[in-house]
């Protein structure tokens, strides 16, 4: 039964009307009349809880950082020592391998030049993954037959054989 129907039942009922003055206010339902009291208790409990949390918040953070600071400090010290050791080692190595390092550098430069010379014919950037996928699908369908025409417009007569290394699009068309 809902509160509305309960209220209606009580207000329609004589008993309900008689009990109403006893409650000291206009509320028709007993249950709702208790709410102020419950509210007060609830508010008190909430306030206590908040105070408790605040207190805990003030006390605990002080305790925890104190511990973690100590831990961090020792860890940091260890790290600093380790880094200092590494730097010292590297410096020592650089000192002894200095000449070798310079020699390696010049070798590397020569290697690079050689690579560029080898691949000089394909200056186009490497195909992307998508292009590689597409190229795999575009299987060779046989060598393109040579162009057999003698009359040309916009150009001297062209032969496919002379166009190796180029991508060629041959389009059959008619203007009409």
């Amino acid at each position: 039964m809902t509160v509305k129907t309960l209220t209606k039942a009580l207000t329609d009922n004589d008993v309900g009307r008689r009990e109403r003055p006893d409650l000291g206010h206009s509320c028709a339902v007993r249950l709702s009349c208790r709410r102020p009291q419950v509210g007060r208790r609830y508010r008190f409990a909430l306030l206590t809880l908040i105070c408790g949390l605040l207190l805990a918040g003030c006390v605990v953070p002080e305790a925890i950082p104190a511990q973690s600071d100590e831990g961090n400090q020792s860890e940091q010290d260890a790290k600093v020592v380790a880094i200092q050791t590494r730097v010292a080692e590297e410096r020592a190595q650089q000192g002894s391998d200095g000449e070798e390092a310079v020699a390696d550098g010049s070798d590397g430069a020569q290697d690079q030049t050689a690579t560029v010379e080898e691949t000089g014919e394909t200056l186009a950037p490497a195909p992307t993954a998508m292009q590689l996928e597409l190229l795999a699908k575009l299987r060779p369908q046989g060598e393109a037959p040579e162009l057999l025409n003698e009359v040309w417009l916009n150009s001297e007569p062209l032969k496919l054989a002379d166009l190796r290394g180029n991508v060629v699009l041959v389009e059959f068309w008619t203007y009409g």
């Binding site: 292009q131 190229l135 060779p140 916009n154 496919l160 699009l169 008619t174 009409g176």
Partner: protein
Amino acid sequence: MREWHQKYADDGFVIIGVHTPEFRHERDVNNVENSLVRLDIDFAVAIDNDWKTWRSYNNRYWPAMYFIDKTGQIRYLKIGEGQYAYSESVIQALLAEPYTAN
């Protein structure tokens, strides 16, 4: 087509229009020349009035595009209009394909 020619000519892309006439008036080279001006076509056009190249390709359609890779192999055949975006991606991929001259 015209756009591709302008866009990729410097990357090693060559367009060749093979003009194979369907009707008698299309055999007149002057008419073809006028149409090139009218359509603003500046790529190479072969006049295939005797259908030599058409027959050697065993072609049957207008328009038909044969995409030929750097080694001279036909890699893609596009018949008819449309799907220009895909055709352009084919050109880009073929241009990116590594090639070493024999």
